[in-house]
């Protein structure tokens, strides 16, 4: 009995001391990080972002930009300006330090992806699933508002210096003639600038974003019944998904593919 007690104390001591040792490890801020083709996706305090290592350009999936479309046509952001100013929302990337350790180790072996949870008036969970160079960014709005919700608008930010164009040859960002000539020279692409409005419905289901300062090209794809828009005023791609009534939560998806050049992107058609 005495020996049993001694054994129990010793084994417990080993477990406790080992656990304390492990608890003290240092981890990078943004774990997990998941490669998506030439780019990476990770969680930050404002949401999920797609970026390329060493280059300060971020393509964001933020609840401050995503919006609810109400029955009367009005739009409100998932997290509103009032909530931001009053700091009355909560952003959660990890539930605990142990979860962070677990995710870090799993992500090293490609078994974890970033998530971000935002709790304000609405609770939104962002997560990703990745297969090679293809990524789906899911957002779950729970609970879905009972009445008056017409749809949800998901957004991806872009830069005014980006080439944003579709496969029908429409260019949605203003580029110099010199840059357009280089685009034709390097990749044989010659889109025409859309002018006159600030928000355009993309005729097809795909949109290309080429940032001249990163070595990657993004294709954003919508699926039926989503609508794909480009908002030049806010520099966002907007993917609107109609609501389904009677559901407890609203799941919407954005599909993004990453290629190393426009030629590769065009071949994907």
């Amino acid at each position: 009995m005495k020996q049993l007690g001694k054994n129990l104390r010793s084994i417990l001591g080993i477990f406790v001391l080992g656990t304390i040792s492990l608890w003290g490890v240092s981890l990078p801020e943004n774990v997990p990080v998941k490669p998506v083709g030439e780019m990476l996706v990770a969680g930050f305090k404002n949401g999920l972002s797609l970026y390329q290592n060493q280059r300060p350009y971020y393509y964001n999936f933020f609840p401050f930009d995503d919006y609810l479309i109400h029955g009367d046509g009005k739009r409100t952001a998932f997290i509103t300006q009032e909530e931001i100013k009053g700091n009355s929302y909560q952003a959660v990337l990890h539930q605990s330090h142990w979860q962070k350790i677990q995710k870090a180790v799993l992500s090293y072996f490609g078994l974890a992806t970033p998530t971000a949870i935002f709790k304000g008036e609405n609770k939104i969970t962002y997560s990703v699933s990745v297969e090679g160079n293809k990524m789906t960014v899911n957002s779950v709005l729970a609970p879905q508002p009972k009445t008056g919700l017409q749809g949800v608008g998901r957004t991806i930010s872009f830069y005014s210096s980006d080439f944003v164009f579709d496969f029908q040859g429409n260019l949605y960002t203003e580029k110099s003639e010199e840059d357009q000539a280089y685009l034709k020279q390097f990749y044989g692409i010659e889109p025409e600038l859309m002018e006159g409005k600030f928000r355009y419905r993309v005729p097809g289901r795909s949109l290309i974003i080429l940032n001249p300062n990163i070595a990657a090209v993004m294709i954003v794809r919508s699926v039926d019944p989503q609508e794909l828009w480009v908002n030049q005023y806010t520099n966002h791609v907007e993917i609107e998904t109609p609501a389904k009534s009677g559901k407890n939560e609203f799941l919407s998806k954005i599909q993004v593919e990453i290629y190393d050049s426009p030629k590769e992107a065009l071949r994907s058609l």
């Binding site: 020996q3 001694k6 054994n7 010793s10 084994i11 001591g13 080993i14 477990f15 001391l17 080992g18 656990t19 304390i20 040792s21 492990l22 608890w23 003290g24 490890v25 240092s26 981890l27 990078p28 774990v31 990080v33 490669p35 083709g37 030439e38 990476l40 290592n53 060493q54 280059r55 350790i101 870090a104 180790v105 992500s107 090293y108 072996f109 280089y182 685009l183 020279q185 390097f186 080429l210 940032n211 001249p212 300062n213 990163i214 070595a215 190393d260 050049s261």
Partner: protein, 624 residues
């Protein structure tokens, strides 16, 4: 798969000196029995090879000016090796069954642990992660072209500070001359061998001191799974880590000799100290001091004058503590052309580095280990606390490069921790419970190692890999070798790209990763936008004291280069700053290259292009 010639080259680094050293031992008619004889043979053999290289360079080439240094080195050493087979023939036939002190299960443990750690470390990293291998391989490449000296900075301008002799590189150059490897494969193979030796050394050291296999198990576990920044002991093969491994084997040899009342002779100690010093002056000097001090302690501890020695030791410890307290007031950041500033860590930074490598296990197990050692009252273990403690105080002082001494200290600290862990496990009275406890701690340290690896490799993302080099850079180097292999070439780019290409292509750059300020200014692309002719003149004016008039100058415009060009001037000029990760070319980068080649074909010609870089030939004609 690693190429066979690379594996042979790696194994030859140990086998050839051991054979040659044994032959030297026989010639010197040394019949003295020593423990770890292979260690002594290795040291003697390595020094013989180095001696032969120096004789070739400073004597034979002067007597026979038309001779080729590499031929003399390769031929001489291989000849010695063949001769040694004859001299040692009887010995090896008699001792054909290699008598291992360790049981087969222990060997399986060492190899298995090394394989597991190496696999974890190399996950998603196809190329060596030891950035320093670039400069060491660059020096080896230059030796293999026939330029040689005792002083490293006289061989290559990549070495601006002579922290060691060319001993380490001579050994590498010798085996690479005899068995030409694929460079990247060689460094992967030698890294694995080094890790194996660190694990083996940690086990043997702990077993000799404590006479306890459980403690040896934990020491070997820590030896392999703890990876510290700055010292890089377990996973990077370089002069400071090589010194540390040999030192621990020597220390163990001495302790074993003392316990058997058969200390190695003092002349052998002297040669060993010389070996350590030549591999790395500073680390080797401290290692030699510890060996010599331990030797004196063992031989004179019963001598009446020993009290004076112990008194001096106490004074030294007090002085070290005072040094530690006043060190923030001493400014040595100017050392090594200002690089020292980057290696001068304050206490908080040092504690953070320890936390990254150990989690909280240092705080948890060191006090346990000290308490256990004090209660066991074993002289050798107490010696470990004293030496480990002195090195730890040195490490914590606020002076540049002090953290590097931990490369020696970690073996002692790990032994103390292992004693603490062993004490916990030994209280369990059933074998299966002890196995459970040991397994739990093994998994814990495995996870600590994994999180440390994640932190260390965090900045190295390139597509889905975690790497310093890209496949496209390797392909570009192969293109240059195939097309310009025998020609005179000077490569120009940002320091990181220069360092990489100098190592993997064998072509020269000005300074590699340590390009001087003048070169950094001359290769900066912003000059092209201001004045293309001036840019061309500056590129043609990059002065390399070893390649004064190269026939070909190639400018490598890599994604890394363009990122470097956008950095603030302080970072561009800093020796400590590098772009550690590959980067592919962007649309804007392609534009620049295209402009250079199409607007000024008289100055630049595109000779190679892939998604990561373009190589331009810099034409030498310009109007005055």
């Amino acid at each position: 798969m690693i190429q066979l010639s690379s594996i042979l080259s790696c194994l030859a680094l140990f086998v050839i000196p051991i054979f040659v050293g044994r032959a030297v031992w026989m010639i010197l008619k040394k019949r003295t029995s020593i423990s770890f004889p292979w260690l002594t043979y290795f040291i003697l053999g390595s020094l013989t090879i180095f001696g032969w290289a120096l004789i070739s360079q400073y004597l034979l080439l002067k007597l026979f000016p038309g001779s080729n240094f590499v031929f003399l080195l390769k031929g001489g050493v291989f000849g010695c090796f063949l001769l040694s087979l004859g001299i040692n023939g009887k010995f090896w036939r008699k001792n054909f069954r290699f008598r291992l002190r360790n049981s087969p299960w222990e060997i399986v443990w060492f190899l298995g642990l090394a394989a597991l750690i190496f696999g974890l470390w190399r996950w998603r990293s196809p190329y060596p992660l030891n950035w320093d291998f670039l400069e060491h391989q660059a020096l080896v490449n230059t030796i293999l072209k026939g330029r040689y000296s005792f002083v490293t900075s006289r061989i290559s301008d990549t070495f601006i500070f002579n922290g060691y002799s060319s001993f380490f590189h001579t050994l590498l150059a010798t085996v690479q001359a005899i068995f030409p490897p694929k460079v990247l494969d060689f460094w992967l193979a030698i890294s694995f061998c080094h890790l194996f030796l660190v694990i083996l050394a940690s086990w043997i050291f702990a077993e000799q001191i404590s006479q306890d296999k459980t403690i040896a198990f934990f020491s070997s576990l820590l030896g392999g799974l703890i990876f510290e920044s700055v010292t890089f002991t377990s996973l990077f093969f370089m002069p400071q880590t090589f010194t540390a491994v040999i030192f621990i084997f020597l220390f163990t040899q001495m302790i074993r000799g003392a316990q058997a009342e058969n200390l190695p002779p003092s002349w052998l100690l002297g040669i060993s100290c010389l070996f350590l010093f030549l591999i790395h002056y500073v680390i080797g000097f401290l290692a030699a001091l510890i060996l010599a001090g331990t030797y004196l302690y063992i031989t004179l501890r019963d001598h009446p004058a020993a009290k004076i020695g112990f008194g001096l030791l106490k004074i030294m410890v007090i002085l070290l503590l005072i040094l530690g307290l006043v060190s923030p007031l001493i400014n040595l950041n100017f050392l090594n052309q200002g690089e020292a500033k980057f290696y001068n860590f304050n206490l908080a930074k040092k504690l953070f580095l320890f936390q990254r490598a150990y989690g909280l296990s240092l705080i948890v197990f060191v006090p346990l280990g000290i308490k256990e050692i004090l209660s066991r009252r074993k002289k050798e273990e107490f010696l470990v606390i004293v030496i480990g403690g002195i090195i730890f105080i040195l490490v914590l002082t606020n002076l540049p490069y002090m953290f590097k001494f931990y490369v020696l200290g970690r073996f002692f600290i790990h032994l103390v921790m292992a004693v603490g862990m062993g004490a916990l496990v030994s209280r369990l009275n059933s074998r299966s419970l002890r196995m459970l406890g040991m397994s739990f701690l093994a998994v814990t340290f495995g996870l600590i190692f994994t999180t440390n690896t994640i932190y260390w490799k965090e900045i190295l993302y390139y597509q889905s890999l975690l790497t310093h080099l890209s496949g496209n850079e390797v392909k570009a180097a192969e293109f240059l070798i195939n097309k310009y292999g025998q020609k005179s070439v000077l490569l120009l780019s940002d320091p990181a790209t220069q360092g990489i290409f100098e190592a993997i292509s064998g072509f020269n750059t000005q300074g590699g990763v340590y390009a001087n300020l003048s070169t950094r200014k001359e290769v900066d692309i912003k000059t092209f936008f201001e004045n293309p002719d001036l840019f061309s003149r500056e590129l043609n004016g990059v002065y390399d004291r070893f390649e004064v008039n190269p026939t070909n100058r190639f400018l490598i415009l890599s994604g890394r280069y363009f990122l470097w060009a956008k950095r603030p001037i302080e970072e561009k000029n800093a020796l400590y700053f590098n772009l550690w990760t590959p980067a592919d070319l962007t649309f804007e980068d392609y534009k620049v290259g295209y402009q250079m080649v199409t607007s000024r074909p008289d100055l630049f010609e595109l000779i190679y292009l892939n998604p990561t870089l373009m190589i331009l030939k810099v034409k030498s004609s310009f109007t005055l």
